[in-house]
């Protein structure tokens, strides 16, 4: 029986990261979907950058950024008393950056697909922008939101390089399942690695099949 700690920690991390990215991603994606600004392609590129950089490199730079003597790290220390790196909060911060494109891109597509029409209709029915986003745009983007959350969740579970660098592989605190598997592989504990990997694979597979099957029935209902 493998240690369940890393599994729970991964699920916790993925859930928190997904939640936070949803909160950040919705306004960002909404802005990207509606803006005419010159800056738009630049912001789009920035949100896509985490795809391009090797995770360990991102992790390295985040580590430098979170160093308690660097501005961000120092600010965090003075705010919370603890360091950002090597803490769960740090993992969340790093994962959020790394998984950002997986949240923003599907959301943006979904919002663009809804278009201006329903939002304008809501505005002429006395709904403020916020009201319209909440009660019209989001419900109509349900499928896209689901996709975005699943991708973000999945990618955070699978994420490894950044977390290892920033989190420091501390049991119960930053040792997530992907690091645990990595460690088993590295220390020639292949049986344990196989068990954990298979578990992760089956879990992910079942989740994804569920989501895609749901997506499909969604699609059927709308057409």
């Amino acid at each position: 029986m493998p240690d369940l700690g890393p599994v729970l920690l991964s699920l916790h991390l993925a859930a928190v990261t997904t939640g936070i990215l949803l909160v950040i991603g919705v306004p960002l994606a909404y802005w990207l979907a509606t803006t005419q600004a010159r800056l738009k392609p630049v912001v789009e590129a920035v949100t896509a950058l985490p795809l391009v950089l090797p995770p360990t490199v991102i992790g390295f730079y985040l580590l430098i950024l979170m160093n308690p003597s660097a501005p961000l790290g120092a600010a965090w220390v003075s705010l919370t008393g603890g360091t950002l790196s090597f803490s769960f909060s740090g993992l969340v911060f790093a994962s959020a950056i790394y998984s950002l494109p997986f949240m923003v891109q599907p959301l943006q597509s979904a919002f663009e697909a809804v278009g201006r029409g329903p939002m304008e209709a809501a505005a002429t029915l006395r709904a403020s922008r916020l009201d319209a986003v909440w009660n019209v745009l989001l419900p109509q983007s349900a499928r896209g939101i689901l996709t975005a959350c699943v991708l973000t969740f999945a990618h955070t579970i699978g994420e490894f390089g950044v977390v290892l660098m920033v989190g420091g592989n501390i049991p119960e605190r930053t040792r997530v399942i992907s690091i645990a598997i990595y460690e088993h592989v590295e220390s020639v504990e292949y049986a344990e690695a196989h068990i954990l990997s298979a578990g992760l694979l089956v879990f992910s597979f079942v989740t994804l099949v569920g989501v895609y099957a749901l997506n499909r029935s969604y699609r059927l209902r709308v057409s």
């Binding site: 979170m66 501390i170 049991p171 592989v185 020639v188």
Partner: protein
């Protein structure tokens, strides 16, 4: 300190992790103090310490990184010593030869790939390369050499059969005893410089009694016998 998690936070190079776990258990049983192990590559742990990682003790896989830390003031002057010396072996799982001679095998064997740990990063890799140079094989074998990023990956390359042969750590063969069949050649110590693994106490743990106890424990007979059982020589 920041280590809410028990009394001593130990950063340990992945190749020593197994042994460290046994040491940890023994130490905890003896002292009722709590040790937390965090593993990673030596280079990664070094970067983390430089950037404020909450480690009290650094069990590195080489002597260079601990020294750098001492020089930079992160490590406590005078606390660095060699806690273990690694033993390099050449492993060929498929070999049926009863008295397997690695040097002959390297020279004459029919194999496509020879796995090494990355000499730039891993001391075992550097030792393996030295060995090849000493045997005057470095050039002739250069197009058969493949690199694992560390000794763990070198082992994986061999264990998975992608490389027929590879330089791995004796400690890994102890651990993966079931896999460690076939031919194993203990590389003679005169073919490469000793693979010294150094420990250093962090500046932040200067007054940490538990950490000092753990350092002392590393020199105890009990610890040395555990390390020997796991394929290390004493430092």
């Amino acid at each position: 300190g920041q280590a809410h998690q028990g009394d001593v936070m130990v950063a340990v190079a992945t190749n020593f992790l197994d042994t460290a776990k046994v040491l940890e258990a023994e130490f905890e049983a003896e002292t009722a103090l709590e040790v937390t192990l965090s593993s990673g590559s030596t280079g990664q742990l070094y970067s983390q310490i430089e950037n404020g990682a909450p480690f009290d003790i650094f069990l590195a896989a080489d002597t260079d990184r601990p020294r750098r830390l001492v020089d930079a003031g992160n490590g406590l002057e005078g606390t660095q010593f060699t806690y273990a010396t690694g033993r390099l072996v050449l492993w060929m799982p498929a070999s049926q030869t009863p008295d397997f001679d690695g040097a002959d095998e390297l020279r004459d064997g029919s194999y496509r790939a020879l796995a090494l740990a990355n000499p730039a990063l891993a001391p075992y890799g550097a030792a393996a390369e030295e060995t090849l140079v000493s045997l005057d094989l470095a050039d002739s074998l250069s197009d058969r050499i493949v690199y694992g990023q560390n000794i763990g990956q070198a082992y994986a390359l061999v264990a998975s059969g992608n490389a027929e042969m590879g330089f791995v750590a004796a400690s890994q063969l102890v651990k993966g005893a079931a896999d460690g069949q076939g031919g194993v050649w203990e590389v003679p110590g005169d073919l490469h410089a000793p693979i010294r693994q150094d420990v250093v106490l962090m500046q932040r743990a200067a007054g940490n009694e538990a950490a000092l106890q753990f350092i002392a424990f590393l020199r105890s007979d009990k610890a040395l016998s555990i390390m020997r059982d796991h394929g290390y020589e004493e430092g």
